[in-house]
Amino acid sequence: MGSQIAKLWNALDKRVVFTLSLIAAIWIVFNILSGGYILRAENMANLFRQVTVVAVLACGMTLIIVSGHIDLSVGSALGMFGAVCAAMVTNLDIDPHFSVATVLLLGFAVGCVHGSLVHFFNIPAFVVTLGGLIAYRGVTQYVARQSIPIRVEWIKAIAQESVPHWFSIGLMVVVLAVLALSIVQTRKRHTRAQLEVNPVWIDVVKYLLTAGLIIAFIAVMLQGEGVPVQVVILLAVATIISLATRLTPFGHYVYAVGGNRQAAHYSGISIARNTIGIFGLMGFLSALAGIITVSELSSAAPDIGDLKELETIAACVIGGTSLMGGSGTIGMSVLGALIMASIKNGMSMMGIVAQMQKVILGSVLVIAVALDQWSRKARR
């Protein structure tokens, strides 16, 4: 029995287990301190709403940092794209579907320009995006010099509504089925290729643990108004990008380029395509985050997205992404964002003033990285 637990423990990703436990601990502590408020269904839905924008950005930022770059412009870019979207829909009265699609494409294009400047002109990403940070804030402040209201219902629904219950349950069933199927398929293929596979019971336990988390999440959400639309978007974005890093050559190349650029070049990898691709993705996600933000506020203001770039980088770092490049995962960065949002949410529930919250969040960031470094050293 004891050895079986040890085997299971070895088959699990310890960092994920630890981080999930940490989040659970944060929730429980704040739940006690705030008199049982934080774990209520409606607050849980709120918490996941609060995490969305930073988590979406963190999905792209992880790839940027893994490949050895940084993007400081995402907060301002978010503001600019949000403001442009609002201006198109409200001030210029352009078709909302067309506007949203245009803004997303524009985001991708601006990101590609960042990537090209970094690659072809050899300007450090820090400088290119620092320029963006300043310039796009200016654009935001000009376009949204007077707050622009959003009146299109479906755009507002992105951040303010939840998906119908039947949709959440259906999606959950599909996800659970796909997950089970992929485990069975992987086992089959590995056996056919005469490779080692986990004992059946370990895969079953792993599946049950994952499924349990998913079911618990949906169950809690369904007790309130359901799963917020923006959270569904976040989960889709995180899942797609995370799978892409594992299953596509492009994703693997990001890690190779970040780990050793020269070796990647000598292995026949196109560094240009890779760099431009990840910055393009980052731009796209900034635009998406901008649309979610204006949807949330029902308007675009000059200061939207302010300092989001730093929160995003902090989320990635708390999730264990190395600023030296080469390592870090999407899932862990999203969990990093969730840790920050949970602490923020808990502190607000306890009535801690905003100024103090900042002091605590800053400390948490530094302590998290110190702990991470210490655990890496201990493992060696």
Partner: protein, 502 residues
Amino acid sequence: MPLLSLQNITKDFPGVRALSDVSLDVQAGEVHALVGENGAGKSTLIKIIAGVWTHGSYDGRMLLDGCEVSFHSVRESENSEIRIIHQELSLVNQMTVAENIFLGDEPRRLGCIDYTAMRRGAQQALATLHSSVRPDQRVAELTIGEQQIVEIAKALSKRARVLVLDEPTAALPEKDVENLLSLIRDLRAQGLGIVYISHKLNEVFDIADTVTVLRNGTRVSQYTREGFDARQIVRDMIGRSLETVFPELKPPQAQSLLLLDHVTLPHPDYPDKDILSDVSLSCSTGEVVGIAGLRGSGRTALLSLLFGVFKGAHRGQVRYGDAAYRPASPADAIRRGIALVTEDRKRYGLISTADVRENLCIASLRQFCTHGVIDHARTNAGCARYVEQLNIKTPSIEFPAQNLSGGNQQKVILGRFLMNQPKLLLLDDPTRGIDVGAKYEIYRFIHTLAQQGMGIIFVSSELPEVLGVCHKIVVLHSGKMRTEFGHGEKTEEEVLALAAGV
């Protein structure tokens, strides 16, 4: 009484015994060579002497001049006048020679750095080493040989009794090696105890007074100068006998694969200077062509040209298969079936953050894809096959690649390119800094590949291996072809003279 005496040293790491009951005496005025394969325990032993592994983390005693010493830090070892020169140079490229020599121990006046004293001190240190390097030169401008000298000057700028050199010639061109060896002889004459670690046995025989052979953490044997026997020492190092060091050659096939016709490669920055001038060369399928030449002879430029990384245009014709060949990038070269195993493993080869699997399949991921999605069952199976074929010693394919020994890292990089099934394999000094056993395995593998019809261009700093492994050898000197001859047609001395431009 020995100057430095290690007695019954045993050092354990979790799961492995790195050193087991090793004893070693170094006399003043002696060069004591330490030889053994990678992983034999040489580095661990040095780290104990250097105080990296502190007193108490190992068993056994260390005596300096007959008094027991116990180092709790590197600083304490330095205070006992022990100087270590590590394999990887640790100079700051952007700083001057003088600043590097006194880094961390700058002469001061009124709390500020006294540059005059510093320059004077550096000048003296360099003069005793008969070096022409100037104290105010930037380290980045120096050759690797000169940097090595600066490193030694740095070690000797403070009083030293014991000097440990860990593979000091691994990165040195032939002529600098001779300088370094004569410098070591001088230092020996001054009464230093010198511990010398090298994979190159000819150097060891040239300079050492005593040779100690380590294998798997134990001291296997010790020889004094009169008793040196190359075959016996190699046998001791690898624990078995190498009947023939080089595997037998099979004749190549006749089909032409690569042809360089009067190729000239102007220097991209200085158009009037040629890196290669008028080089003609051919390689058939199944043929191993050796390129002998010193560093800077244009040998790496030749491979860069063929792999699409050379920046600049060339004159003359290159034909590959039956068409003119001009690759624009490594990606282009790889697509056409050319692979390059680079000289600098750390810089151009290994992805240190990734595991063995990732390092193996990164150049061939597309062939494992169905509809753009990687099939991990196939990558795993492919990697497992190459780990077995190349005899890569790794606990699993998910093991961090940077924790492998040098020889196994090199095999991983070789495997990476073989996964693309290349037609022409370019090897740039593939056995540099790896142990004898792994070298032999790489030679054997080269021959297996040649028999399967692959054309191979083999560049090496070590003449015996070029002469032993290749069908045909081309000697380069300052970008010019000195000669071309077949296997067994010339002796090492003749080739060395040609390569050195004599």
